[in-house]
Symmetry: C2
């Protein structure tokens, strides 16, 4: 069985991706990594911990202190900006949403690559998804391809023709499919957190809540988490 480090955000996508890696791709996720980059709340961290506990794997939290430097560039990092409500429409408008954080996924992959090389894992598993999130440039299949090209030259492992490869099991799935596979595999979807707000309950109003809730309904179910409205 091959091994991997998983980028576990605490959200639904990375959780289902890790379960699919193990159950469908025969890749054992050995370590889950949550990378903090100045998010407005750390509700995701406790969700990521629970997902890793359910997977029975080691969990590492790393803080990359980018907030002060790039705060002005993303609504997710800037407390003075209203939370974005443009993502649900982004597939149609082909704009990059305000919740885009400059170069974030490249930083996350670079750190995961270092961990994978140090621990001699074969892969990086991510929950990148290009469908509902298609406004994010660094979630696209072409970005994954370019990353895997880079990986051949970026590390000692690549130099030895044994590059660490990025696997994105759900990249081409609509959110309803992601939910379908999560339910099929018994993934702990109730432990995941998708809401942009950090409240006790998911707000039910932000783009992320709307997309998630609709995805459960497309599967003929109600979401397993509670919503404020």
């Amino acid at each position: 069985m091959q091994t991997a480090v998983g980028l576990i955000s605490g959200g639904l996508d990375s959780c289902v991706a890790a379960y699919m890696a193990r159950e469908d791709h025969n890749i054992e996720v050995k370590t889950g990594v949550t990378i903090l980059y100045g998010q407005r709340h750390d509700r995701e961290v406790s969700s990521a911990k629970r997902v890793c506990a359910a997977l029975g794997i080691n969990h590492v939290v790393l803080d990359v202190p980018l907030r002060d430097i790039i705060q002005r560039s993303s609504a997710l990092l800037n407390p003075s900006e209203a939370l974005p409500h443009d993502r649900a429409q982004s597939a149609m408008t082909a704009r990059v949403p305000r919740s885009y954080v400059p170069g974030r996924n490249t930083i996350m992959l670079a750190i995961a690559q270092s961990i994978a090389e140090a621990y001699e894992y074969d892969h990086i598993i991510t929950g990148f998804n290009a469908v509902d999130f298609s406004g994010y440039p660094d979630c696209r299949p072409i970005f994954v391809d370019a990353w895997n090209h880079l990986a051949r030259y970026a590390t000692k492992r690549g130099y030895e023709n044994n590059a660490i490869t990025l696997v994105a099991p759900i990249i081409n799935m609509a959110k309803a499919s992601v939910v379908y596979h999560g339910i099929r595999l018994g993934a702990p979807l109730g432990d995941t957190w998708s809401c942009y707000e950090g409240g006790a309950l998911a707000c039910g109003r932000c783009d992320s809540c709307i997309i998630r809730r609709n995805a459960f309904r497309e599967n003929g179910k109600e979401d397993v988490i509670e919503y404020a409205v």
Copy 2:
């Protein structure tokens, strides 16, 4: 004039690269970034500060807490391992030196890319050098090419056909040429630090000291810094 973020390590190469960018490539380095990844000493940080002061630019220090996670993988991060003396020979032996830090340059570039996008800079300037350091996979021209391919897909800027490009002005230069250009441009070489040890004076014995000192001698000069031996 185009603009850039410069990766400023405190060493000689990144200092000369920044001066060459400004004087020879007409690229203004606006911000210098020093990334800490668990080095054994921070002598480099004070050198980097002095280089940025000489350039008259903003200096940012970022700490990526990788030490605990990848300590076992590199002699540079592991205090229980003797410092490496295999680099001067690496070009001949084609081995990756023990001082290689897994995936380090990819992390540095990823962070620099985020800063460049947030501040709307055009380029990243690095002192990557493939000649004396040819055992490092992530210093090679092919790595730079692969990075610039990735950059087209990794950011909003790339999505808008205005990718942030990596410029490595000294990548194909022998160290003697780097020193030559540093002297020609009046770069503050006396403020730079190359030694792997963190002593008051450069040790004069590690690979890095030997390569640097020889490079000055090939220019018919003695190094402007003092050595312990």
